[in-house]
């Protein structure tokens, strides 16, 4: 294999041709020999048969004319067949008419002819028997004996001959292939030489002459083109090289400059590090200061919280006072009514009657029976009694109202007390109770103006809120609704309070059918100082919105316009973590 790698193309091609030729010839040789061997016996028999037929045919006249000489000479013709060792002709009377023996010393017997015997194959010899016929009449017979050993020898001879032919043909093939190969490889060899020269001398201007237009011709052309390109590139490369040298020079210069800059930079970095260190120190001081300030701020914050708490409490107090004030008003009225009632009481007439009776106590009966005034007394008494009864009823009713009002005041104050303590503290609150408290605070005015309250509380979870703040907002909303109703002067005044759970929030809705809100006002409703109602201070809703925000919720409003009522909703998250 290595030999193939290092030998020339010509030798490779030659090897291929010779190998192929050898394979083909050897195959033909092997096939012919094996076929020959396979059919040799059959061939021997058929060959002998033919010879027998010829001898029989040729011998008929000799036999017919009893020409022994001619018959013998006929048989002698068998000499040319190496394998035939003996032959004989018998007459119709079965007498030996003529005989032939290839080897005089060998003794063979001429067999008697029998019609059903045409061939006899022994170990060493084959016998063929042929009848001799003249016009279909049997006139004698021929026997031919062939040696199988001699046939074998013949086969070996033919193999030797074939081998000789094979070698001869191989040599011819090698010679012819060599000649043809020279024609094919000569241009390639030349091309190789030129390539070698180009490689050795680095002279890219060398060219090879194209002598044919076949693949080799194309190869030569491509080779020349390649050399052209190499030449061109060589030129370009040397130009590039010059350029590269120039750029290398400037690069060196740049490198030097860069180095200088680097040194400067390093210096700067060192300085910066120093500054940074200083800054670090400053920072630490600053942190201390910030900490101090934070503590201060925290303190301040606490104070502010207190202030806010006080402010909240003041707000509640103002609400309470407002309510109490209202109730006190009623109390005042009640007291005046009672006082007036007592002042106008007909009971004084009774004292006059007592005086009259006292002056006539001796003849009281006559006085009552006969005196004109005395006659009036029973009538007067019955009238008085009626009047007093009436007065009593009025007084009772006023006193009841008074007692109610005082009770209410007591409630309000006790409520304020209960909220006062809880300001700024979050606790679990049942929303319905919160709403009820808010309603109670506003109850006074509502019954007075015949406002009907509709409650609708869904069963919702406890809220974890600043109870006081939440109450403030609800009170504010209910109070607003109340005033909106009062101002509307409608006959059918209703406040609906709905408590429901919306997703994770609690929604408290206060709906009235009062004066409603103009659409242009809705946008300003929660602004600080926005007031529509006479006597309003303008920060109720603003404050409520802020508080709702603090609780983690919000307030929303809806109104279809003036006279159409309004609906306020405060939405507070149920989540314990939300809000303040």
């Amino acid at each position: 294999m290595e030999l193939i790698q290092f030998s020339s193309i010509k030798n490779k091609l030659l090897m291929v041709y010779v190998t192929i030729t050898a394979i083909v010839l050897a195959s033909a040789f092997i096939i012919s020999v094996s076929f020959g061997a396979a059919s040799s016996k059959t061939n021997i028999i058929s060959g002998l048969n033919v010879v027998g037929e010829i001898i029989a045919d040729r011998g008929t006249a000799s036999l017919a004319f009893s020409d022994v000489e001619s018959a013998n000479s006929n048989l002698r013709a068998l000499r040319s067949h190496d394998s035939i060792v003996y032959a004989c002709i018998r007459s119709v009377e079965n007498e030996i008419f003529a005989e032939y023996s290839a080897d005089i010393e060998a003794v063979f017997k001429c067999d008697e002819y029998s019609e059903n015997k045409s061939v006899n194959i022994g170990n060493d010899y084959i016998d063929i028997y042929k009848p001799m016929l003249l016009e279909g009449q049997h006139i004698g017979s021929v026997q031919i004996k062939a040696s199988l050993i001699k046939f074998g020898g013949q086969t070996i001879k033919s193999i030797k001959l074939s081998l000789g032919i094979f070698i001869g043909l191989m040599m011819v093939a090698a010679f012819v292939s060599g000649r043809v190969m020279n024609k094919i490889t000569e241009p390639i060899t030349r091309l190789k030489d030129v390539a070698q020269r180009v490689t050795d001398s680095k002279d890219y201007s060398l060219r090879m002459k194209k002598t044919s237009s076949d693949e080799v011709g194309v190869l030569v052309e491509s080779f020349n083109n390649m050399l052209d390109q190499i030449l061109e590139r060589d030129r370009a490369l040397s130009e590039e090289k010059d350029k590269a040298e120039l750029s290398a020079l400037s690069a060196k210069r740049y490198a030097k400059e860069t180095e200088n800059i680097n040194i400067d930079l390093e210096n700067e970095i060192r300085e910066r590090a120093k500054i940074e260190e200083e800054l670090q120190d400053l920072n630490e001081t600053l942190e201390e200061k910030v900490q101090e300030r934070t503590i201060e701020l925290e303190k301040l914050n606490e104070k502010i919280g207190d202030v806010a708490r006080s402010a909240g409490m003041a707000e509640v107090a103002s609400g309470v006072l407002h309510n109490v004030g209202n109730v006190l008003n009623s109390v005042n009225v009640s007291v005046s009514v009672i006082r007036e009632q007592i002042r106008k009481t007909k009971a004084e007439n009774l004292s006059r009657l007592v005086e009259m009776l006292d002056s006539n106590k001796k003849n009281i009966a006559d006085f009552i029976e006969k005196d004109n005034k005395g006659k009036q007394i029973p009538k007067f008494l019955s009238l008085l009694s009626d009047q007093l009864k009436e007065e009593k009823i009025t007084l009772y009713s006023e006193l009841d109202q008074l007692a109610n009002n005082i009770d209410h005041i007591k409630n309000v104050i006790s409520m304020q007390q209960s909220y006062a303590g809880s300001y700024g503290v979050r606790e679990k609150v049942k929303v319905s109770e919160l709403v009820e408290d808010a309603l109670k605070i506003n109850l006074q005015g509502m019954s007075q103006h015949g406002i009907k309250v509709i409650r609708k509380y869904e069963d919702i979870p406890m809220l974890y809120v600043d109870k006081h703040k939440a109450l403030q907002v609800i009170i504010n909303l209910i109070s607003n609704a109340k005033y909106a109703l009062i101002d509307s002067g409608k006959g059918n005044k209703t406040i609906s309070v709905l408590v429901e759970s919306v997703e994770n929030n609690v929604s408290i809705n206060v709906i009235d059918n009062g004066i409603g809100i103009a659409s242009e006002d809705i946008a300003h409703l929660f602004e600080y100082g926005f007031k529509k109602r006479r006597g309003g201070h303008g920060y109720g809703l603003h404050h409520s919105a802020l508080v709702a925000n603090e609780l983690g919720g919000r307030i929303s409003v809806h109104s279809d316009g003036l006279g159409e009522g309004a609906s306020f909703s405060i939405i507070i998250p149920v989540d314990e973590q939300a809000g303040i």
Partner: protein, 178 residues
């Protein structure tokens, strides 16, 4: 079959020998026996065109011109066949009738007459004789004696002129060809 045939031949041979032992010498008798057999063999080694026969059953004629030297020997041929045709022996005195013959045996007695008209003989008639010089004087096959054996000469040129075609085996056996 062959044995029967063989016996037949042997019986015939003995019978013929017995019959002619007084009239001719034994040798002469043997000679003409052979010559009769040769005539049959000649007939068998020659191509006879079918056109020569009027029908399938037409016979093969051997004519003897002159005083026959065969005696009874030719009768042996009557049982034989040539190309499947029976053989008929005709004794002729006039060569005008020769056209019907396939083989014409010319006897010593009439040789001169024959020579006179030999070149006018019709085609496809094989002329045979044991007259000395026959094959060189217009005849085709001449019996000769050679080494005390009966042999024959063939004048191929004369035969070819007459349209006679021999099988090669016959020519091989012939003693001499002209």
């Amino acid at each position: 079959m062959r044995k029967a045939c063989l016996t037949q031949v042997l019986v015939l041979v003995f019978a013929l020998t017995a019959l002619f032992s007084n009239a001719v010498s034994a040798d002469a008798n043997r000679e003409y026996q052979l010559k009769a057999a040769y005539l049959l063999n000649f007939a068998r080694f020659i191509y006879w065109p079918k056109a020569l026969f009027s029908s399938e059953i037409d016979v093969f004629r051997i004519c003897v011109y002159g005083e026959s030297p065969f005696g009874e020997n030719l009768n042996y041929l009557l049982s034989k066949k040539v190309q499947g045709r029976s053989i008929k022996i005709n004794q002729i005195e006039n060569l005008n009738n020769v056209a019907a013959c396939h083989i014409l045996f010319v006897c010593e007695s009439n040789k001169d007459d024959f020579y006179k008209i030999s070149s006018y003989l019709p085609q496809h008639v094989l002329t045979v004789s044991d007259v000395k010089g026959f094959s060189s004087q217009g005849g085709m096959i001449e019996f000769i004696r050679f080494d005390n054996k009966i042999k024959f000469e063939i004048n191929v040129a004369q035969s070819t002129k007459s349209g006679i075609k021999y099988r090669s085996q016959l020519l091989e056996v012939a003693e001499q060809l002209r």
